[in-house]
Amino acid sequence: MSVIEATALPGRTRNALAWMRANPLIAAGGFMVLVIVVVAIFAPLIAPYPGDAGYATHPLDIFKPPSTKHLFGTDNVGRDIFSRVVYGTRVSPLIALAVVAIASVVGVTVGLVAGFLGGIVDEILMRITDVFLAVPALLLALAFASVLPQSTGSTILAITISWWPWYARLARGEAASVSRRRYVETGRVLGLSRLRLLTRHVLPNATTPVLVQASLDFGGVILTAAALSFLGLGAQDPTPDWGLMVNEGRSFFQTYWWAVTFPGAAILFSAAAFNLLGDGLRDRLDPRRVVGR
């Protein structure tokens, strides 16, 4: 941007622009997340057929291709896919965000404590983690989903249970290596409490890989939730879950491409949004990446 253009703007706008240029990833990811949030809040105003996110069916409008009337076309019972994708912002991203957030908090806590304390505590915690890792993730999620009452909360819980051990493993390895660094040793020697060492010295230096992994997992969680729905254990039909819509549309994909494509694009968009945000945050949180001033 030229100097003249920049100085013509009021100070605050100029600062915001400068900040965005310095943190393009956060700006882009943040903007995309904002779009999702705004759509979720104003879904009833944006969706042309709010009823189609529920039990409504329109037998005469089955599989209409995208048009001005139905922006994304209609599905196998004639529902407006655009309306369902819009309402889907209230389902899929929330599930994914909840799973990734809870799983990373639990995983990081377990991994950090194990890696930092070492010895018998490490053994016990990691063997428990191994038990969870030994069962295929989807199978484990299925097992829990089948015994829990069918609800969004149960879906979140079931996936979280199969998800956290990966973060625990990742965090444990980092924590173990960071805990041996001199500044942690010195802190120990100087009598810092274990809690302080953990939160102030080990945690900030050990979480980067988990943060990156978590931001990459966002799309994966949406698809796992979809697989649960597909097997009859996650969100069920009228719920406008993107993953569920992709799964349902799959069998018609060769003739009616729009039934899969648009919900799929929504998953891609939200996954990319959190991915960019995660990447940007990683860069921002690591002081070594800040250009020396």
């Binding site: 660094r181 001199r182 010195t186 100087l190 009598g191 010295h201 230096n205 949180l285 002081p287 020396g292």
Partner: protein, 263 residues
């Protein structure tokens, strides 16, 4: 201040890794401990700080600080001494600082830990100490990776200064730095020894460095002291063949030291 070591033995599973029959350091003195890797020189330092036990070693003998026995002292009391009365600097300053914290934060915490409660007092003490090692207060706002190894080592020295440590324990403090920076660090240490009458225990494998900065030296090999005496005398006429070998390992071009040895 007076540190007296008598018949100190550090052992792992009954195997003695460091044995120091006698060593005394008084205020303003400068003593070197030289030896190759595994000679027990660092373990001696660890024992003085009460850290050898933490590593699982058995420590016997006596280490007295102003007549107060440190061997067998409680962890709590040792903590009050470490950092405060006995300052420490290590080989690689970059790993001694937490990379995500500004040096000023680390500096402040160390001072707070040793009882300087007011924020302003901590800042003032830090700035005064930094001035003594010729650093600007600005370095407190920097992250460790933004400072050079020499600057970080000087920050570490300033921490000991700010707490008015009576003894500075330096374990290979310049081995990771280049020669010109080493000279600068040595110059600073020598000066604060005079102004603050701070004692120095300098641990190094580099006899040339030891010769430059210490008055007395203890040469160790395989856990035993093989030679001890005034640095000048030991350098000029090494009595033990190991000391001679250690000295021959130092590549010196011309210079006083090699000339002295050739005699």
């Amino acid at each position: 201040m007076k540190l007296e070591i008598a018949d100190l033995k550090v052992a792992f599973d009954g195997r003695v890794v460091a044995h120091v029959p006698e060593l005394e350091i008084a205020s303003g003195e400068s003593v070197g401990v030289a030896g190759e890797s595994g000679s027990g020189k660092s373990m001696t330092a660890m024992a003085i700080l009460g850290l050898a036990q933490r590593l699982g070693a058995d420590v016997e003998g006596s280490i007295k600080l102003d007549g107060h026995e440190l061997v067998g002292e409680s962890e709590r009391n040792l903590r009050a001494i470490r950092g405060r009365r006995i300052g420490m600097i290590f080989q690689s300053p970059s790993s001694a600082f937490n990379p995500v914290l500004r040096t000023g934060y680390t500096f402040g915490r160390v001072l707070a830990l040793h009882g300087i409660d007011s924020r302003r007092a901590r800042r003032a003490a830090a700035e005064t100490a930094l001035a003594e090692v010729r650093l600007r207060p600005r370095v407190l706002d920097r992250y460790p990776h933004q400072l050079s190894g020499g600057e970080l080592q000087r920050v570490a020295i300033a921490m000991a200064l700010a707490l008015h440590a009576e003894l500075l324990l330096a374990d290979e403090p310049t081995s990771a730095l280049d020669v010109t920076v080493q000279a600068e660090i040595f110059e600073i240490i020598s000066r604060i020894r005079e102004t603050e009458s701070m004692a120095l225990l300098f641990i190094s494998h580099d006899l040339a460095a030891v010769a430059e900065i210490t008055e007395r030296v203890v040469v160790m090999r395989a856990g035993e002291v093989v030679e001890t005496g005034a640095t000048r005398a030991v350098v000029d006429a090494p009595a033990h063949p190991y000391t001679r070998a250690l000295f021959d390992a130092v590549p010196v071009l011309g210079g006083e030291a090699s000339g002295a040895h050739d005699r």
